[in-house]
Symmetry: C2
Subunit: 343 residues, 2 copies
DNA sequence: GTGAAAGCGCTAACAC
DNA sequence: GTGTTAGCGCTTTCAC
């Protein structure tokens, strides 16, 4: 191979201008050729594309983004309000995140993940949006940030939130009908023979509050005593202790437990067993989410299924529509009972 | 409030230049003031910072990144080689991802997540690196991409990989000593009375292959028959079927099962039970990872613990050092036996 | 301590 | 079809 050519081949080509020089055309043409957009002579294009490949050149997305005023990146924020630690490792959110990554990749977007602690950074949402790094944002879980999200929603359209839907809210939300889910759960517990119901989990977060409220609806309608709230944290270690205490105290006074999540339900199952209560004979138990673990407990967990895949799809679909200028309604997904062995 | 001032207050300030105009200084000064770096008159700085706050201004990170040739973003790639689906929802990787997000946030970096399917995009790593969007990359899991990662490692230093360490490899890796973990597992099974061992899971991925090899080491050393490989997929549904079949076929010919992950072990436990085999009396069982589920099965799962938090910390620490120009050794973490009830 | 000016790498008018 | 030019919003010399 002649020296000159060899040297050319070895030239590092970092910019579109380098490539243009090699191809003997102008940077503009290279840009057009690589973008595959406007008309470029087929031969020229081929030559440029070839050259780009052999040199492993890819256009700098930062520069392109700056110029075009769009980044090709969607931000995904997970606010950790109620229960700072552990929430991000919560299986449900993690599964949703995985599916979101899939959906966004499919649509040609990258995903920028940001875990935020609103208490120590009240400005989290504006900062994320204002960073200039993202074309839109998906917020996973309203946590205790409902109002802050509402505030932002008026001035920023490229946002969709996973969470609970509230009459008249201004931000676009995708989520399960938690209240209905709560009703289904309570109905199932009652159908399985329970009369004195309890709700296991923190009722602070809106989603959980709605699940709790749904259960109360049914208890009231059936003339049963109000559902007892048994608050816990979300982190497995603390929750286990708290559940043990709850069962020790309230144990025989209740015969049906609606756990806010499957994770909590699984923990609860272990504790019930440890304290000699049989499930479902002494106590009926129902979870929420229908995570893989629900099939793996013994006895297998009856639960209220959320369609996570549909949720992820909906979040991305709505966001892209909003980016395209459409205005969109919120999407409320129906929960579904998955009846197994615990209720 | 006088009209003029009102108008000023309402002016949208999107750029540093807008802000400069308001403050009556030059863009350069605003930049300096906001960056908090070089010397700016305290009064001027205060005024600028105030103005920025009241107008909710934040500098555009794309522009800043372009100019400074660094983005403040670390890419996290999850290659899905062996078993395309489900791997991203694999609890272990997800937990690691959550912890990585924490660590990176702490260090002031953002995290860009990319799920890649090497089979359909052989160029995934170069593309990610060459995108200009990230300052460095963390690869979670070598999958079947060991060689490709090796190829890249020579020319790109800002990369750290979670995975298995191989003598003489060129890329910087953080991971558990899987072979040692395999040895611990086999030793434990044998100590619990097993003599005919099996390894449950795909032995294709390097991590798993090393675990398997570790178990073989011990079987050989103890003069036992070779460890039987019972391949499965990672997705719970397929795995369950496959496990059921394995047990039906090999069931009584083996008395100790080393599962490649806790998830598989939990599934296995269910199937063993379904087929009337008692654990640990008929069959001893040991998992790998020590995920939360290991404590929740009945009986609770004996397993080999990986220190995920240390892993996440190590990955970020090493990557930042490499970014700073240091050259770093790989980090091999010791696994630890968590003895519970299944072996 | 601050302003002016150049330019990061790319794209999109606008010429020709 | 292709080249030229003018920025996208920011940082950073270099003057003063």
């Amino acid at each position: 191979m002649p020296g000159g050519q060899d040297k050319l081949t070895r030239t590092t080509v970092r910019t579109i201008t380098d490539l243009a020089r090699l191809a003997g055309v102008s940077p503009g043409t290279v840009s057009r050729a690589l973008a595959g957009k406007s008309l470029v002579n087929a031969r020229t294009r081929e030559k440029i594309v070839d050259l780009a490949r052999t040199h492993g050149f890819r256009p700098n997305q930062m520069a392109s983004g700056l110029r075009r005023q769009k980044t090709g990146v969607i931000g995904v924020a997970i606010p950790l309000g109620h229960d700072v630690r552990q929430q991000i490792s919560d299986s449900f959110f993690m599964t949703l995140l995985g599916l979101l990554a899939d959906e966004l990749t499919d649509k040609g977007y990258d995903l920028m993940l940001r875990r935020v602690v609103p208490d120590s950074d009240p400005d989290w949402l504006d900062r994320f949006i204002g960073s200039g790094m993202i074309d839109g944002v998906i917020v996973i879980g309203q946590s205790d940030q409902f109002d802050r999200i509402e505030d932002v929603a008026d001035g920023y359209r490229a946002m969709v939130v996973w969470g609970n839907h509230q009459e008249g809210q201004r931000h676009c939300v995708v989520g399960t009908d938690n209240r209905l889910g709560g009703r289904l759960a309570a109905e199932r517990l009652i159908a399985a023979g329970a009369r004195r119901l309890a709700f296991l989990g923190d009722t602070g977060p809106m989603e959980f509050a709605a699940r709790f409220a749904g259960a109360q609806d049914i208890a009231a309608r059936m003339g049963l005593p109000p559902v007892l709230a048994l608050p816990t944290h979300l982190s497995p270690d603390r929750a286990s202790e708290e559940i043990a205490r709850h069962i020790a105290q309230a144990g025989r006074a209740i015969d049906g437990i609606f756990a806010a999540t499957d994770t909590l339900a699984a923990l609860c199952l272990t504790q019930l067993r440890a304290q000699g209560l049989r499930v479902p004979d002494d106590v009926r138990l129902i979870g929420f989410d229908d995570l893989p673990i629900a099939r793996q407990t013994i006895p297998a967990l009856t639960t209220v299924r959320q369609d996570i895949a549909a949720g992820a799809h909906g979040l991305v679909d709505l966001l892209l529509r909003r980016l395209a200028g459409e205005s969109t309604e919120s999407l409320v997904l129906p929960p579904e009972l998955a009846i197994r062995e615990t209720a």
